[in-house]
């Protein structure tokens, strides 16, 4: 396989930008049983993407970490009269692709199908059954639980994963974002079928659902798709709002021993939420600081000037409530302290001095000039629209995006960073072999 020069860590909302100067025309309505529907017609390829999103991510686990993940994982293993084999065949036979998964905020089901009616109808029928009458068969439950436990065990052989888990714990304490979204071995072992069924019945309901359709269908077909998919899904209730995460009182450094050649480092604080008042200055500012790959300041200082790490970056991950601001790098154990020092100093200097007019200009050019690339495939479109929908952003959000980026000033960036990112409260995780234990 190929080796890439740089891994760019991306997430949906961190790199938000949008159509040549305008976003897509999003049509919006409510399904017969009360779910929000979003539709963007496309032309040129005889295919359609559908995504159903619930507020049923790991933030809804309660104390049963892993509950959202396992519930999502069981959906396509049995539904209505079909077992896992029957479901798989129905989808594979028509070339359709179905997936389920979760984030901290959401649970989703995605379907990609050709638009030829016979093929599409069979794919939709199957997806409908998975959504409204999953079986949660005991044999499937036991198998999927074992598979999840196997994955959780494998996670423990990755210093990067261990550092990521510790990072969220350090930032979020007892907040629902604190635990790993796949759960922990202890909590997953205790999960029962009934737990999954209860979770499903509470959160997989119409009022808690939205559906996004992108593809080469007309709006009447889109209406039929939405109504058909969600038919028989009970109305239900929306879950309560998530609590506000608190900032830590003071900076903290946690080291964890691991027999690896490199030390993996994460450092950050709770950052911002989607639709945050400071979103644009923080987003554009971070683009300069650590969010634009090799040309960003952190990468320049850590990698380009000193050769200390293959990747070094900072990102905001906006969630429903404040998601993390996270800086990261990985380097051989005996230079970890030096690299962390460079990274944190870059942050401090950036906050103290703010960006130069030239740096800001360069980042604006990249963000605005790259606008068309954020929406150049159905895949990217559906992800953008799903985020707009889930986070209740205005439908014309993408249309005003460029103007809001252009309006950001160096002063606004400095002010927002000073107010939101306190280097004296950074939570820093280092996982690797400490210098003295090296061979």
């Amino acid at each position: 396989m190929s080796v890439k020069r740089l891994v760019v860590l991306g997430t949906l909302l961190c790199c938000w930008a949008a159509g040549s100067q305008a976003g897509p025309k999003i049509q919006q309505w409510t399904s017969t049983n009360g779910a929000r529907v979003y539709f963007v017609p496309t032309e040129g390829l005889p295919m359609v993407d559908v995504r159903v999103v619930f507020d049923a991510g790991s933030a809804r686990d309660g104390a049963q970490y892993g509950l959202a993940t396992l519930t999502s994982g069981l959906l396509d293993t049995g539904a209505w009269l079909w077992d896992a084999d029957a479901i798989a065949k129905r989808l594979d036979n028509v070339g359709a692709r179905l997936g389920t998964g979760i984030s901290r905020d959401t649970a989703w089901l995605s379907l990609r199908s050709l638009t030829s009616p016979k093929l599409l109808d069979q794919a939709l029928e199957t997806a409908h059954a998975i959504l409204v009458s999953p079986s949660f068969n005991p044999v499937d439950f036991e198998r999927e639980k074992k598979k999840l436990l196997l994955g959780l065990k494998q996670r423990e052989e990755s210093p990067a994963d261990l550092a990521g888990i510790a990072f969220f714990q350090a930032l979020y304490g007892d907040h629902p974002y604190a635990h790993p979204k796949e759960g922990t071995i202890d909590t997953v072992e205790k999960l029962t079928r009934e737990d999954l069924q209860n979770f499903y019945h509470r959160f997989y309901v119409a009022k808690n659902a939205l559906i996004v359709i992108v593809g080469e269908v007309d709006s009447s077909k889109a209406k039929a798709i939405a109504d058909g998919l969600l038919k028989d899904l009970p109305e239900g209730e929306t879950p309560p709002a998530l609590p506000q995460p608190a900032q830590a009182e003071a900076a903290k450094l946690l080291r964890k021993e691991f027999p690896s050649a490199q030390t993996h480092v994460y450092s950050g604080v709770p950052g911002m939420k989607v639709g945050d008042a400071d979103y644009f200055p923080l987003y554009v500012g971070n683009h300069i600081l650590g969010g634009s790959g090799l040309v960003s300041k952190i990468s320049d200082e850590v990698r380009e000037k000193r050769g200390l790490s293959y990747s070094a970056y900072s990102y905001f991950f906006p969630f429903k409530v404040e998601g993390p601001f996270m800086m990261g790098l990985q380097t051989k154990n005996n230079q970890a302290e030096e690299a962390v020092g460079v990274m944190q100093k870059t942050l401090r200097d950036f906050i103290a001095q703010g960006p130069t007019a030239k740096e800001l200009e360069a980042s604006k050019k990249n963000i605005t000039g790259g606008f068309p690339m954020r929406l150049d495939s159905n895949q990217k479109l559906i992800e953008q629209v799903a985020a707009i929908a889930f986070y209740d952003l205005p439908l014309d959000y993408l249309d005003s995006f460029i103007a809001k980026v252009e309006a950001v000033t160096p002063q606004a960036i400095q002010k927002a960073f000073k107010a939101r990112i306190d280097p004296d409260r950074l939570q820093t995780i280092m996982v690797g072999a400490s210098a003295h234990s090296e061979k």
Binding site: T42, A96, Q122, V340, T368, G370
Partner: protein
């Protein structure tokens, strides 16, 4: 529920007519030997440019492994015209995203830009095709970056470590035995002179293919290519030695021990690929065999080993039709808790035996074909992926036309042919098996070092 559901297992043939929409590729060749492939896709005002060079780790010899990848890194470190880092800054200021990748058979560079800025990437790519400046200071730092990349991707990843050592066992003399990123000692001993030689040898218009996919007009792109690349001088390219892998003469086995939590199994059979295959259908039949085993959730490995027998936590089959040299038909997986690597190996061998002994069912074959047809439409959602396919097939010597032929060739495969290739190639004497045996990971001690901000004191 609607009663039509009871017809659920009826196979719905994906209409072949969908394939008629296959996009047109325009091919040009400049006088200096540069090849240009252009495919129009007018869905968004965007164009991707990829510059493919016929050089990669399979062109390397012992002692300098990893040099193609190291040179790829240095291609961002300046030319006579542009100082280090400026390439990336210019692309960034134009709203573009860019990167590069190295494989066994190619080194490729790419930019994605708004369509009117295609000239920006052509200008920069043409410049670094012939005018790279290899600065010793930049090289020394970048060598450290690549060694960090190796630690990240291989040294600290137990399965990658197994994969690397597995290739070194399975191949005797094929250059595929070496890792793309290079052996650590080779990488750390590379010199600027080594890189300069490598650059002089391979970076020339007559060893490159430029692929453009997006909202463009082929004639205009040709004109632009002529403008920027037209004046570059071609090189005399060295002949590439075939280095044909010797016949394997029996089963090979290995164990790799590494700190890990789970065991892992890899198996690989020596097989032909489309390039250089005596009979092309054999390669397509192997592709179908991989699909029967691992094409979707209903395929044999998932339905039998993961769900039915519940012996595997996960399991995959893979075959790379488009590699330059004969390669491996791979099977790999993790046993579930309570099952062992030998047990998983036996189950996989049993599935391979069935491929040899019993023709695949018509239903399975139809399902693989339906998925291939649908995938052909789905993959057109990504202009980058389309450019990748054109670049790969052209660079390994097959020609981009193979991308167009794919669906027809797969459709022509019969159950008997799948059985034949299994009998011929998926046999013990061509097999290598590797086990990852976990070494214990000591319980990680967590040491809070409270209120000790690292901010800045250690900066040199």
């Amino acid at each position: 529920m609607a009663s039509t559901r009871t017809l659920g297992l009826l196979l719905l043939a994906v209409p072949l007519s969908l394939q008629a929409a296959s996009p047109k590729v325009s091919e040009f060749k400049l006088d200096n030997g540069l090849k240009l492939l252009v495919q129009e896709d007018h869905r968004a005002p965007v164009a991707v440019t990829q510059v493919w060079y016929k050089v990669g780790s399979s062109y390397e010899h012992g002692g300098i492994t990893g040099i193609s990848h190291m040179l790829e890194h240095m291609m961002f470190k300046g030319t006579k015209k542009h100082p280090p880092g400026e390439f990336s800054r210019i692309i960034s200021a134009n709203g573009g995203s860019e990167n590069a990748f190295t494989g066994e058979d190619y080194t490729a560079y790419f930019q994605t830009l708004e369509k009117s800025r295609l000239g920006v990437s052509f200008d920069l790519e043409a410049d670094r095709m012939r005018n790279l400046r290899l600065l010793p200071d930049e090289f020394t730092k970048e060598q450290q970056v690549v060694l960090e990349e190796r630690r990240l991707r291989t040294d600290d990843q137990p399965r990658a470590k197994l994969g690397e050592q597995f290739n070194a066992l399975a191949y005797s003399n094929s250059p595929y035995k070496n890792p793309v990123i290079g052996w650590p000692d080779d990488v750390s001993k590379l010199t600027v002179t080594d890189l300069a030689d490598w650059y002089q040898r391979w970076y020339a218009p007559n060893n490159a293919t430029v692929v453009v996919v997006g909202d463009v007009n082929p004639a205009e792109v040709h004109h632009l290519a002529q403008k920027y690349f037209g004046s570059l001088k071609p090189s005399r390219l060295p002949a590439v030695k075939p280095r044909t892998e010797i016949e394997q003469a029996g089963l090979r086995r290995m164990i790799v021990k590494a700190p890990a939590k789970l065991p892992f199994l890899v198996m690989g059979y020596k097989v032909p690929v489309l390039n250089g295959a005596a009979q092309a259908w054999e390669a397509y039949a192997l592709e179908v065999a991989a699909g029967v085993l691992d094409g979707g959730n209903s395929a044999r490995l998932e339905s039998r080993l993961v769900r039915g027998q519940q012996i595997a936590g996960n399991v995959d089959a893979g075959y790379d039709l488009y590699s330059r040299l004969p390669s491996l038909f791979m099977l790999e997986g993790t046993p579930v808790q309570g099952k062992s690597l030998p047990e998983l190996e036996q189950s996989l061998l049993e599935e391979v035996r069935k491929l040899r002994d019993e023709p695949v069912t018509a239903e399975e074959l139809e399902r693989v074909k339906a998925q291939v047809l649908a995938s052909k439409v789905f993959e057109r959602d990504s202009i980058f992926y389309q450019a990748m396919q054109l670049g790969t097939t052209e660079t390994v010597g097959l020609g981009w036309e193979k991308v167009d032929e794919y669906v027809d060739k797969i459709n022509a495969v019969t159950p008997e042919q799948v059985k034949q290739v299994a009998e011929k190639y998926l046999v013990e004497d061509r097999l290598s098996v590797g086990y990852l045996e976990p070494l214990p990971i000591p319980e990680g001690q967590t040491a809070p070092e409270d209120k000790a901000p690292l901010g800045g004191q250690h900066v040199r």
